[in-house]
Subunit: 458 residues, 2 copies
């Protein structure tokens, strides 16, 4: 690394990727396998997304099994499927031999059911059992995330014996820093830190140096809850146990980071009514298909707002100024409600909140809306009264603003909390529902006030 | 753990917290210190946020230094400051002796400048140097996140010697799984996995088993970029080096998770124009103060929309139906634009995108808006034409919808990209700017079309 500092990390990377592709084109297996060692599989997988068919075939043909295994783990779903199509079952099983069980399960999950069955049937009985079990868990739960590549040792083992086991199993595990301590019933009774094992006396038992307080989850636990626990307790892995406290697997922190990223993407997209599967790489028809459903819901809320206005057409016909000013009320309330919405959805995502017992919070958000409404109402009222030279129009807009901003605060808190209580994603198109409420009520309140004070407006 | 499964993890926790507070009230130091071992410091810190002054004082008086150190690391800023107020400088220095340098720096950063200076002056020269250096880095950069508690060894060391060093330094480090390998100039030349060290021959050199491809950052690197690298390469720590490749510190994955959580909260809140410091615990005046600035910006955009309508008052006066239908155009376009906005902001946060070279993407989003606009325009046009029994009104709303949804797609992509290019947070109130654009242009386009076709509407 020392002498390469003249080039940036990116430049070196690009150079190596080009050399690697060149070696494949020349069918130089030795060179390709050697160059592979100098590229991070994550970067290679990224570059391969743009490769032509021919080069991918070469890659599968020339690279060693272990390297293919590593690359498959890092490849995105599309590339994974492409590569697997080029590999026959016996080769694939050899490659699986170099992979963690949870990664094998992820790959199997992306395959057609026929191919998946073929592969599972070809596995050794022991492996088949674990894989089938792991495939049974929902992808979004602790069971779907966990790996079986951990070190679990009996607490009665001496430190010396434990260390020998660790040296033996270590290379095949995802985590070595934490050793899971079991009793004779295979129940999880604690964790031991490798640091403590390294400095303890060879004759101490593992139990004597282990930590008995363990944060654990069950296989059914939702991945979002798992990620909150890992983040809260700064864990590098969290064990998954069954009801009888028997250790089933562990979830490592790198998978948790992926979960956190995924959940946040989901929150942000769903808030606006976009399917969580949409990315900037989605094609136009895909994007349209994923957004139209919520726009249709929006069409309904928009027409409700329109009907609210329509029922006051005779009032507007007499005072056209109402038409230009009513949108100020709804526009500001909509955005004000969205402010509340984002604070509440964020708290829900961080696990700080639930509907039960949150009436105080809802009232507080309504109060914030009220205060913001008074401020904005005064500003708007004064400006409108001056522009239209009509004191009463200013008063009407002030009153409507205060009421509607309070409603916006209330709805901004209520909508996500209710969605959550209904076991829906609290972000699910809540912005569309919110502006529906603030538009319909905003127009209604403003125009009702206008009708009452109509004589003063003419 | 085995026999406690009758109680849930939460119940056990609550029981222990009560016992602990009880021991403090009785000033039973031995009992309190013993009970402390059975509560996770994260949970204790959380419970302590609700404790009265008196109990906190007791806690500081009765608990051992090492335990106080642990708790201070987990406490939130408010609790930290409260506890530190109850500790004198000499005690605090003893407590710092049990803490990681990066945590000490975080605490010092929260103190008044006087107290901070006093404490730094009282430190030993070596420690003072490191702390002052760390305090010099911006909180949001790699330098501000890094810790100096890592294991770095010379590559020429034999595995046997390395293992002895690891046993010696290990207990004081945050990470033991990865050993950083240096050359004689203290430059980072690779990393060694503890697994490989454990199984290698005692006489091998560390260099011979180390991985030379290291992903690293510089101390000035922004924390968001650091978190993207850690997440992309599934790292458990990332080294921080200076321009000469000399290792300065490492950032561990638990701090990265905090960064990711923080950055996402920021994105979601700023999108709606809420200060990133707002939480559900903010008081009403705090919330109001943090939201009003962007509502004021919104007031301006709302008045711009209002002026657009006002300039067509003579048209509306003749066809009042326009007043009720124009809001359908702006409402749908606003939400459609927000869909694009959320996809783009999410991609920016995941580091997948920048303004340069993204014109294709911007056009694609405009195209999605156009197609969605055609669908929604047909629906709205047909319904409106039927309700008002006027074919031309339907055509006008169709035309306005198509144009404005396309503009919404364009703006939804452009606004965050431009904010990013201006080195602003791409989420910064972009929703408010977006609805500003879609409202003003939506009203303008719809009412302009209406003016052109006015004879057919009467």
């Amino acid at each position: 690394m020392g002498q390469e500092t003249k080039y940036s990390q990116e430049e070196i990377l690009e150079l190596r990727q080009t050399q690697f592709a060149e070696a494949l084109r020349k069918a130089d297996a030795a060179k390709a396998n050697e160059l592979y060692e100098h590229i991070h599989p994550v970067d290679l997988a990224e570059a391969m997304e743009d490769w032509e068919e021919e080069l991918l075939s070469r890659f599968c043909g020339l690279l060693e099994d272990e390297k293919l295994a590593e690359l498959l783990e890092e490849a995105d779903e599309k590339l994974q499927v492409e590569l697997i199509h080029k590999l026959d079952n016996s080769r694939l099983l050899k490659i699986f031999g170099f992979m963690q069980k949870d990664d094998i399960v992820d790959i199997l999950g992306n395959l057609r059911i026929n191919r998946r069955k073929q592969l599972i049937d070809l596995m050794r009985a022991g492996e088949r059992k674990i894989i089938t079990e792991l495939l049974g868990y929902d992808e979004d739960t602790a069971g779907g995330l966990m790996t079986t590549a951990y070190i679990a040792l009996n607490g009665q083992l001496t430190v010396g014996a434990a260390l020998r086991k660790i040296k033996e199993i270590g290379p095949k595990t995802e985590l070595i820093e934490t050793i899971f301590v079991l009793n004779h019933q295979k129940q999880l009774v604690g964790t031991a830190d490798l640091r403590d094992i390294l400095i303890a006396n060879d004759t101490d038992t593992l139990s004597s140096i282990s930590e008995e307080q363990v944060i654990y989850v069950e296989p059914e636990t939702d991945q979002e809850e798992v990620s909150l626990l890992v983040s809260k307790y700064d864990l590098n892995a969290i064990p998954v146990v069954n009801k009888r406290q028997v250790l089933l697997g562990i979830i490592t922190v790198d998978d948790i980071i992926d979960v956190i990223m995924e959940e946040h993407t989901e929150d942000m997209l769903q808030l606006a009514g976009v399917s969580k599967e949409e990315t900037i790489d989605s094609t136009i028809p895909e994007s349209v298909r994923r957004r139209l459903p919520w726009l249709c819901v929006n069409l309904i809320t928009a027409f409700l707002g329109s009907f609210a206005i329509k029922s006051f057409e005779h009032v507007i016909a007499q005072v056209v100024a109402l038409s230009a000013t009513m949108t100020i009320v709804t526009g500001l309330s909509g955005n004000s409600g969205n402010q509340t919405l984002s604070v509440i959805i964020r708290s829900l995502a961080l696990g700080e909140l639930e509907l039960k017992g949150s009436w105080k919070l809802i009232l507080k958000q309504a109060a914030v809306g009220l205060v913001d409404g008074i401020f904005m109402g005064i500003c708007t009222g004064v400006i409108v009264a001056m522009i239209y030279d009509n004191f009463y129009l200013g008063c009407i807009i002030f009153g409507a603003m205060v009421c509607n901003m309070m409603i916006a605060g209330l709805s901004g808190a209520l909508i996500p909390l209710v969605l959550k209580a209904l076991k829906q994603d609290p972000a699910l198109a809540s912005s569309i529902f919110l502006t529906g409420v603030t538009d319909v009520l905003g127009f209604f309140i403003f125009l009702s006030l206008a009708r009452v004070f109509l004589p003063f407006l003419l």
